[in-house]
Amino acid sequence: METLKITILTQENGEEVIKEYEYTGNLNIPVTTLLEKVNHGNNTKIHYSSSCLQGLCGSCAMLINGWPKLACKTFVNEEVMTKYFHKITIEPLSKFPVIKDLIIDRSKIYENMKEAQQWLDEKAKINPEHIPFEYEVSQCLMCGCCLESCPNYNGEDNFMGVVLPVSSSKITAQETSDEKLKLHKQIHKKHFYNGCVKSLVCQDVCPMEIPTQRAISQMNYKSVWHLFHLFNRQEK
């Protein structure tokens, strides 16, 4: 049987902590199951967050050999045997404060969503043609993979990352209050448009395969380009 070397790289009280383990056994398992086996096998507790164990809830987003992924959908065999020589490094996502081991505090995302007023003030306007797209953006897990990989998001300045247009592309399609729509456009410009350099990496890493580029371009059109078109037309 093959042996896997596991390195858990995290922080405690601002200091780096490295924990190393070995595991021999069935390797056709996802990383969450691996963590469980390491815990049981060593009578220890590496804290990690998991809930559904089948890629539906986003709890277990972490860095696996440097990539932000859902640990429950990332199988060890594919990941480590070919590319990483039987070694796996597991870290918490780096752009969020660490609570314990692999558990992170994502409250910044939720604070941003509140600040950006991501809710409907009026009854939703339903257009059956828009439903497939609205369905896709509603799948967002708030797992943070997109923010982790985004070259522009740092959790500190105005830029809120692609979670904002993913949410507001649905909300602005359903909202009927003109005043609120105007506000959403301003928020998009301030908290997204001005900060995104279009690396497009968010669409590649999203575990739910949300069409983030479509969400972005819809919001850019509504908030920025649409106004240019109007302006140009008036000039002519």
Partner: protein, 558 residues
Amino acid sequence: MDTKNVLVIGAGLSGLTCSVKLAENGNNVRLFSPSPSERSQSVMAMGGINAALNNKGQDDSTSQHYTDTINGGQEINNHKAVKKLTDDAPEIIEWLDSIGTSFTRDENGNIDQRYFGGQKKQRTAYAGARTGKQVLTAINTMLRKYEHENLVKRYIGWRFLSLILNDMSECVGAVLINEFTEEIQSFEADCVVIATGGMNKVFGKISGSLQNDAGTTARLLQQEIQLANLEMIQFHPTTIKTPVKSMLITEAARGEGGRLYTIKDGEKWYFMEEWYPELGALMPRDVVSRSIYKVCNQLNLGINGENIVYLDVSFLPEETVKVKLDEVYEVCTQYLNLDPTVDPIPVYPGIHYFMGGILTDDAHKTSIKNLYAIGECSAQYHGANRLGGNSLLGAIHGGYIAAEEINRQTVTSSNNNEIIRKELEKQMEKYAQWKDNQTSEYTSSYTVEEELASIMNNAMGIYRDEETLREAMGQLEQLENEKIYSHESYYEYVLIKSLIHLSKAFLISAINRKESRGAHQRIEYPEKSDKYRKTTVIQEKNNEMIVSFNDTDEKMGW
């Protein structure tokens, strides 16, 4: 109307709905959960939500929904609660639609509805293959507004420890713990709403969320709150075994036309269609599960002699499998390495839902004044067997009703500072005792959890008998005496201790119901008995568990 201070414990669909409805009326809500709402088990509900919208021209009506629910639950549902549930269902769908849920539409632009088990009408509205997630996103978005207005304050990472009860045994608040920082805090409140989901962890890793660990229900039992129908555990007919855990293949697979078969004399045998020509594989879940059990264990016709039959969707249009059932497609390809558009899926029944839990009446009141329970943790709507599509409905409806009741209640102000201080001190002392008394020489909590799950799965299977149940009681008593090492986690320690206790209540409830009804099948009592057309109520008093059989519609009287 008075403004109330409410603690809502649990932020899945029922807790979210209740919080939204409370905040709409200006109440102050503190909403506790182990993690954000996106992580709740609600997002795992695929199939849909039942309501007699009658969008399909089949003359559906709320009274037929009522009858199907009562028949499915084998008449021990709370009838008054089911009446409200089914009457309110169309309005709930309308509300979900109005707050932006992306329901799948039919060619006329109406909300589409499909067939689900135990119902002859197309009554199950759905949002693609992820109804729970889609509904949750909409309600969560709505709640954000009230969080912004500071009417709702969230506490993430918190778990319930105990209720604060005054001299009259009325609830005046709760003590909770932050699972990671181990901060223990008391919270005063006019009302407490429990929305903590099913009792998954008693049975180890079942199909649902790991976070629904039964801890709150277990600790409420220890504080003498009445629980109900614990023996009523739903086995979903079609679960698959993966290296991760048991996973569910949604009933929608059969709703869309999927067929169940095994091999008999070298031929495919569609046993459900032969035994139940009218509904076939879409009989209520308890019936389908028992049929599969019979095929494998009594007729010895499981595939390759194993506890397996096949669920076949491969003959359906590829688009149906990949779009309407995309979760089935993903689970099979990712975790089984099987393409369901080509091969049949090997399935067997597995534990999936708890019809039993905290006893509540049709107003979602519990046996303790000012304490409500909603969602899967509360027992009332589903009786001896829940229909597919009624769980999302029940969760949301519970949130509606509890909020309505709380709005109606009048607040009596009294000074509870002393009581609150005492309860907090008591919990802090327990924590200090544990802290001083931990060593890895004790039995690992992992081992205890596994033993507990093994005892309970063995005793509380699809068929039960007194001897096995009593044997399990003995094993639990032994387990209770183990000294446990919980890897420096106090919450884990409290949890496992209380779960052993709760498990005894499961067994005692099962021993006392001496009949076979719905999800509870006793080998010695194969028939249904009118004597037990009642709710099994269990309560712990002075270290003794007392069982009684109450009228299904009994009110709490406060």
